[in-house]
Symmetry: C3
């Protein structure tokens, strides 16, 4: 495998419709807005029945997670079920030495079982892209989170949640707080915000957890929580891992909370109508106080709820995209036939 | 969390319909009888197709087991599927220190994915109740077994099995044999039997495995197997764990069997038409001889079969209950709206 | 349990229809051909929707795997789903001492949950047969691979793949290469090939990995790869386990590949239109070179694709078989009623 020097798998079909979703970076604004619109169409208040359709009738979706994530996995699987798809759920450990190769053989096998869409989650940045470059022309690959690189459906659900509460992205002040350096959540959210015209995105982190200067171009950077969230509309908290505290020379959870924990007092620095977000799972009492997590400004549960709607919209889009006539007679399809066993 | 001094989650809606099923204790007799009647409606002989309906069309049921139990999990999941529900199946380990908190965040997350019914199984007595006190008004919680405290659907299926074979509960002599002290199965069965008017319930156990005197009020207690089951109509065997033998100062499996194993010879002390029950999994040759487990008086397989029927009846009841007009305009629903992110 | 001296569970109903599929050995040629014909009916090119029917509407299929195998499990589960069945998926570890007994109690339990078809996978040769001898008359057992003994659906899909590419079995030269001695894949394929009139089957293996002389009657044996595949139409590669190399006194993977790895150079000894098969997962660079595995003569992906079609055909056959009038009034059904708890 040549993982260093390759072209990324193209996200779009020739006709501009969505084929893979591996990152939000570079996704055309019109397509992003269309996905958010469809997600809003599928969004329902809690306590009312979830949206359903038969848009994926006859389609098979496989979730293949090498990192456990109940929330993301169940969210994708319910989205697929509620669209009428068949679902195959696979959790597997792959030895790291053979990972790429074993992953590709597994994918080819599942592809041969008529799997149409793969949802992949992996600790390694490149795995979904590697898979996307190797699947047949009628197959789509969706990232369910890959390394530090991207978590595109999380970025979409974060954006949808802000839109539902603030009505727009452009013109908002949005603070992303915590371990930005290692966060795929931060990267995917930032890609969406930037595409939708945000101009005041602030990274708020201890120096050691701040991303390299080349990344997150145009974002202001703050090393003190109160400064970073002062007057902002949206506070996006990130999860902190214990090993990252050590990197940041913070002795432990109590010290992290003392300096970086979002308490009601600190939140008062933001606008009074600021909303608070967190991708979960939360470390209560470490990066966020329970009074904030469960308080009136928290929209954390809306984020989760929007997760199913966003995933329904993405699944619908990739299946709709592949049936376009441009695709079915295209070059890729011919390639595929040539790759078959009988030339 | 305040796990010591709280009101239990109320099992019923204001209109008396079933909301949660965490224990059979205190459940009104009419409701218990209605559940058993519906379970009988869903009960089918083996070799004929299982009952089906679309009563749960559009409903999502999640099983969340922190203790493995293939039988109970599959039984609930097939019950939900056969009623037309979507099913999300989750097995997870939670670190004990953070258990309550992690469990609640997980539950809130799943609730936000439009899960309508949770089936919980946990080694800790209080977990399902903790969850039930914290879910939204439209959500129901069913216990799939919690600590020593309760296993209510097991109690229902045991009762249904007796009714199918004996036609009544009141007036029967029922012996519960083995490790009664640590048994959620014994407690839930006893609650149902007592509600339905049983007056001759006998606890048969070594002294160390007998429950405290305050519990199981009105039950006779026996310390010798033959005495306890003499002339009885029903022999309910319980599973013995190895560590409990030690507590009871019984050196090992062979010694336990010698004194407490239900053999054909010992069973002869019961009525000739007595039925033998076991909640499974069985320790053959320890608490029960294979000749008895597989013999003509055994109704163990009927118990399992009734498990699906009982779980269908309970799922149907909680979903029917929540759509009653009393609920949808009630106080709880208003509470829920207030808990939403946008007041 | 008496595992030594028993009759094998009969594969067929009294009317000759299929009841269990535990091995292909002894299966009547007409039945084998009918299964292959139906599998071909269910076979679809990749990139087109998979076949579907409602032939298993109302039927419950349980997969019970004590050995992990994503490919075989997902293949059976998708086959069942695409025929409209409910599916219960169970992975379990059974302690070896109690295996037979625990397995039977588990099976009886699942049978009582109205499971109609069991798909079993186990490292022990006898487990599926043990189960088949003990299930109720309306229940079918399918092997998903058992010890070294048999992997009958793999044998069917291998045969179907050859038929699709060569149009016949009789008259072909087929080389089975590698660890034939320990291979259930080799045994099941050979049973099918022999039944369909193959006369030139060659076993190609190091002496230590060659089966006993009593087995594989009529097959030619070769100890050098090039000799064994010379002029043949089909090269069936087998997976080699590391511990088997040691048995064969081969120091390691590199040495195995040097002597036994199928490279393009070596493959040139076969007919130019020879096809190459592998049951997967592959050890690339050990028993097979990637250039061959992914090359123009490889039909490995067709094998996987045919796996779903073959499993649909088998599921359909056993469910169709049990509804035949001969069965529903037959001796077995009466036996079953007598085994019920109420005589």
């Amino acid at each position: 495998m040549n993982q260093q020097s390759h072209e990324r798998a193209p996200a779009l079909h020739a006709d501009g419709s969505l084929r893979h979703l591996l990152t939000l970076e570079g996704l055309p604004r019109a397509l992003l807005e269309r996905l958010l619109e469809r997600a809003q169409h599928y969004s329902r208040p809690l306590g009312t029945p979830p949206a359903r359709s038969q848009a994926l009738q006859g389609i098979t979706v496989a979730t293949l997670f090498t990192e456990p994530s109940t929330r993301t996995r169940v969210s994708f699987e319910l989205a697929a079920q509620r669209l009428g798809a068949d679902v195959a759920s696979i959790e597997m450990q792959l030895s790291s030495r053979l990972k790429g190769e074993s992953m590709l053989d597994t994918i080819r096998t599942l592809e041969s079982l008529h799997v149409d869409v793969f949802v992949l989650r992996d600790a390694q940045t490149d795995v979904p892209d590697l898979v996307a470059r190797n699947v047949a022309a009628h197959v789509s690959v969706l990232s369910g989170g890959a390394g530090n690189y991207a978590h595109p459906t999380q970025g979409l659900l974060d954006t949808l949640t802000i839109l539902q509460h603030k009505g727009r992205i452009a013109g908002l002040s949005i603070a992303i707080v915590g371990d930005v350096r290692h966060s795929r959540v931060a990267r995917s959210a930032w890609h969406a915000f930037a595409t939708l015209g945000a101009t005041d995105i602030r990274l708020v982190a201890p120096p050691a957890l701040m991303p390299n200067e080349q990344e997150f171009g145009g974002c202001a950077r703050f090393h003190r929580l109160e400064d970073g969230i002062a007057g902002c509309d949206v506070v996006m908290m990130l999860r902190i891992q214990k090993e990252r505290m050590t990197e940041a020379a913070i002795p432990g959870a109590a010290e992290y909370f003392a300096e970086w924990g979002l308490t009601p007092q600190r939140l008062a620095a933001a606008r009074p109508d600021a909303i608070v977000m967190h991708p979960q799972p939360m470390n209560r009492g470490i990066e966020i106080a329970s009074q904030v997590a469960d308080g009136p400004q928290s929209v954390i549960r809306d984020q989760v709820r929007n997760g199913v709607a966003v995933r329904m919209a993405v699944l619908e889009a990739v299946i709709a995209g592949r049936s376009s006539p441009a695709l079915s007679t295209g070059k890729d399809a011919a390639d595929w036939r040539q790759r078959g066993p009988r030339p």
